[in-house]
């Protein structure tokens, strides 16, 4: 069995990231993105018979998928929640394709979003008895995901000689991309490598400008059969391959903090697609921190293990460069609206493959590699998407 060409993305919907949500709830924002995706596909709610939702970070009630379905006016034949942290969006796409291939439904709305409004903000990380993190990690003062990725970065630097200057180049090139994307949170605010290196050290070796900005927003994609996608107003984007790997939850217990599950996920996706990293025109990968991109480029096979530092120095990662990465600006410069941050790598790949990335279009973009990443390099989902 394979998911190669089992489904296509026919519609996308994404809200412009906002620092706050102006009193709109996560559910409200997610519904707006869902509406846009259905409209983008030229469909009506009655034609959507599948729904996959990701949890907003404020937390979710029991039966959240049916709550979202009711709010959107959907009566799906397949309705579920996908919680792979930042990999949820990419994880939804292949699950939707699998459900379509299995005949359980034909058109699945995949939905992510979050609201940072102080009115709705829920203090995360509350102590929950009986879970490992509050008992074995939090007494020592970890700073959420920040300290986990900082540990990955410190180890990568120690093992491979990676430098802060090399990692900063990733943030700079992605900011250049954001400056070509009016929807990006940091549009119109170019930065230099020195700006990154001179920004405040938050968790050594990571500087403020290497750390993602949480915000509000939502993103959705509509996955359907290739036949239905061909009836939609936009060129279909085909799923060629998918792979997933979950290796741990907390960084202390990772089998290897710098050789991650991305390798297995990417290998499965490339094998299914029948293509290699050399065939890829666009890399659209999870970037909660600069180190995440570096490790992804290595583990996915775009460069050798430990060579991401020199690789990003030698290549132009901007939309007009020789190795375009995160052309929307990535989460670092586009914004991270909760788990919609991970979906933004999917929506940007769709825009580029359609040839609709106005002002930042990668030339002859036919094949994209997408990676979603959750936790601290914990949950990994790789997708290969192609112009249909």
């Amino acid at each position: 069995m394979t998911l190669r060409k089992a489904a296509a993305i026919a519609g996308i919907g994404e809200l412009k990231p906002m620092r706050q949500s102006d009193g709109r709830s996560a559910l409200h924002l997610m519904a707006e993105a869902g509406r846009l995706a259905i409209l983008d596909a030229g469909m009506t709610p009655g034609e959507v018979d599948g729904l996959l939702v990701a949890p907003p970070l404020q937390g979710v009630p029991v039966t959240f998928p049916s709550i979202v379905a009711e709010y959107l006016g959907l009566q799906p034949s397949y309705c579920d929640i996908v919680d792979l942290g930042g990999a949820s969006g990419a994880g939804q796409v292949w699950r939707a394709a699998a459900a379509i291939q299995a005949g359980m439904c034909h058109t699945v709305l995949c939905l992510t979003g979050d609201a940072q409004d102080p009115q709705t903000f829920y203090q995360r990380g509350a102590t929950v008895w009986g879970l490992p993190a509050p008992e074995f990690d939090r007494p020592y003062g970890p700073m959420g995901a920040n300290s986990g990725y900082a540990m990955a970065a410190s180890r990568h630097m120690a093992l491979y000689g990676t430098t802060s200057r090399q990692l900063a180049k990733i943030a700079v090139d992605q900011r250049t991309n954001a400056c070509a994307n009016p929807d990006a949170l940091f549009y119109g605010k170019p930065i230099t490598v020195d700006d990154v290196l001179n920004s405040r050290l938050v968790v050594d070796p990571l500087h403020l400008l290497e750390i993602v900005m949480p915000c509000s927003g939502a993103a959705a994609v509509l996955v359907t059969s290739p036949e239905r996608a061909r009836q939609a107003p936009h060129p279909p984007v085909l799923l060629l391959g998918a792979g997933e790997k979950v290796t741990h939850a907390a960084p202390y217990y990772a089998p290897d903090l710098t050789c991650t599950g991305i390798a297995a996920a990417a290998r499965q996706a490339f094998t299914m697609a029948g293509v290699t990293p050399q065939d890829i025109d666009l890399v659209s990968v999870y970037d909660c921190y600069t180190i995440t991109v570096a490790i992804t480029l290595e583990d996915a096979g775009f460069c050798a293990k430990g060579q991401a530092g020199p690789f990003v120095e030698e290549h132009d990662l901007t939309w007009k460069g020789d190795f375009p990465v995160n052309t929307h600006g990535g989460q670092l410069s586009f914004g991270q609206p909760g788990l919609a941050g991970g979906m933004s790598h999917v929506t940007e790949a769709v825009r580029q493959l359609r040839g609709e990335a106005h002002g930042r279009q990668v030339k002859n973009c036919e094949l994209a590699y997408v990676n979603g990443n959750g936790g601290v390099l914990s949950e990994e989902v790789s997708l290969i998407l192609a112009r249909g």
Binding site: T127, W129, P134, R138, G141, M151, S154, R200, Y253
Partner: protein, 138 residues
């Protein structure tokens, strides 16, 4: 409540982890060892995650290990940690195999390196709770 009361998160032991924390109170570091396959694991679980065997013993560790990865936290995780800034959060790999989350103490943050040999120290933070931290091995 006095201002000297310990404000940081404390472990709330479960029926599975109680012996680990009780050992820490006695200034001993223990990890679970499977009597069937020999696998050692931290944190404690009700069974061996390699062979699923339920016969686990508590193996006394030397307290020696190396820094697997670390970071210097310069922005407090919560108000209670603010006075400690900057402090070192680390993953230490024990000589016996398992890794754990901890702090490196007893040296300036700049002295910490990946691969640094370290030795467990036991910090009695309250009469009921002892945290296991590490200092550079002498």
């Amino acid at each position: 409540m006095t201002t000297t009361e310990y404000q940081k998160p404390l472990p709330r032991p479960t029926v599975v982890s109680q012996p680990f924390w009780e050992a820490a109170r006695q200034h001993r570091l223990v990890v679970q060892e499977c009597r069937r396959c020999g696998h050692r694991q931290h944190y404690p679980r009700p069974f061996c995650v390699r062979c699923l065997g339920t016969e686990l013993s508590w193996r006394e560790c030397s307290g020696r290990g190396t820094v697997y990865a670390f970071t210097v936290v310069r922005q407090a995780a919560s108000a209670a940690f603010a006075p400690d800034i900057p402090y070192v959060l680390a993953t230490v790999e024990l000589e016996e195999g398992p890794r754990l989350a901890t702090n490196i103490v007893g040296c300036p943050p700049e002295a910490v390196r990946v691969g640094l040999p370290v030795q467990a120290v036991f910090e009695d933070v309250t009469p009921e709770a002892t945290l296991i931290k590490f200092r550079p091995a002498s």
